[in-house]
Symmetry: C2
Subunit: 345 residues, 2 copies
Amino acid sequence: MGTSLTPIQQIGEFGLIEKIQKHFSNKLQKNTILGIGDDAAILERDEHNFTLISTDMLLEGIHFDLTYYPLKHLGYKAVVCNVSDIAAMNGIPEQITVSIALSSKFTVEAVEEIYEGIRLACENYKIDLIGGDTTTSRTGLVISVTAIGKVSKQKVVKRSGAKPNDIICVTGDLGGSYTGLLVLQREKVTFKANPETQPQLDNYDYVVKRHLKPEARTDVIHEFADLDLVPTAMIDISDGLASELLHISKNSKCGVIIFEDKLPIDPQTATVINDEFHISPTTAVLNGGEDYELLFTIRQQDYDKIKNHPDVTPIGYVTDSLQERKLILRAGTTAEIKAQGWTHF
Amino acid sequence: MGTSLTPIQQIGEFGLIEKIQKHFSNKLQKNTILGIGDDAAILERDEHNFTLISTDMLLEGIHFDLTYYPLKHLGYKAVVCNVSDIAAMNGIPEQITVSIALSSKFTVEAVEEIYEGIRLACENYKIDLIGGDTTTSRTGLVISVTAIGKVSKQKVVKRSGAKPNDIICVTGDLGGSYTGLLVLQREKVTFKANPETQPQLDNYDYVVKRHLKPEARTDVIHEFADLDLVPTAMIDISDGLASELLHISKNSKCGVIIFEDKLPIDPQTATVINDEFHISPTTAVLNGGEDYELLFTIRQQDYDKIKNHPDVTPIGYVTDSLQERKLILRAGTTAEIKAQGWTHF
């Protein structure tokens, strides 16, 4: 396959995307406003609105484990990932397409479970399922979803708009989904060792729910509209806070400083990850993925609009130095923010 | 997985889609004009135009065999399938998203080959690649493409618009892709038995090209515009002519009669399929898939507009009896048109 052979691990997922992107001009259609490189692509729609397009593919054995991931939740989550990307552009989802590849082990009833989850998500987020593809897979389950959304031209938010002195905020709390994943993986190991045991999940309800039934923050997008607040930059937190902060920093060409003691962590997340898995809650927040919360920046003069919001936490601020990507620790010392992220390869 | 267990084979792919579709209303967004059930979904765009959305997922071992399918051609074809769906609505493609799952056997150079094919298709059809997802696969290669297109509101063509006495036409010639597939599969078997042999494809150039490098008929869509011709119904021929005729018949609530001696078959297709595989060329046309030609119906008064078109063949006509789905054989006898189609399950 070519004369030179480079393993994908050598350049990573982001390296691969950058390499591919170079070959595409994206200037063949004048209604393409923004292509690869943000949570969703932006297309011209009408006088007042843009169309947003986002897509995600989930594979069994890579993104989910059917041993503990219920099919209905999986269908729900496949929609949520994409809704979250549309929300990250300050948009509202309108339609999705869903393509599914199934191995022969799946029954019609199992497929209906997946679609029941998809249907519930469509109902909750007011989305129409408008198309897709259903096919066989030789091996595992594959779900590919594309979401189509809408945003007012004056309110579209990209990763690139953060300015020095902007306040960095996040919605909800972080690290819960990763903690839930660790709990579920531990239960799976226990179950394999002794299939007679029943899963013990009573004390893990919150973190397990964060992992199995994430929600996209379209509620916050509606609140932004009510508050007449347009963030200067935004991204959804799917690969961990550290990775997303670096995207904002790189795309906005500015630095970021956040404070460890400001990071929002649910008490159950903190206790479980610390006491049972001996991982610092801050590490879970920075590098654990799939929280599907929003990371955004606002101008200082807009701070009053969200300062009393119970579900928005200011965690730091934007600086004018691109090289500055710092976490101020509780002890007062400083650590460099590095993306561990989610390395599939 | 539920109390009742029904194998998917029992209801088939179309049965499964129908079952799923019932649970979705598709009335949550007022800009959803048409959802599941045609080649592409139709969304409101602006005063004069609709947006079209189509999606397809290709899996290694199901839809393609990398033993004989070059990666560049695969990338090209993944785009073409979707462009063909947009063309089938009388639309023009504008953007695509591409999600790819790769096993660790793929090198960066191999991935670049796939994207080179995608880039070529984008260039040929004037499409922008605006997004996607790149991830690991435990097993084979998966490519999922979503295409976004545009059609004038006054010119959108669905499967449902055929009327009694309309003339049924097809573009190009049929059965070639299936014949090419059979040749390639035969070469693979020969090669496995004796790896010293070189593939002998000199006498199969046309059919192999039909299989490995199909094109979507956007050229015909532009010609329709020039001729001021709007077909009454249209569908792309991806699952074989029989299956597509039944879709037109079912959706338009009318019958179809076609003539065996009118079916356009390339001489190489006819010779190879008949002499070497002992399959009647008519069977290849009716049940062989992936020709990506267009099947469409026009009003009789529009016949003059296409009668001298070198690449459009009238093959029959529409009747008012829904039950009537007939093939008039060369001998003058009649056969029922049945969809064998492409049964993945």
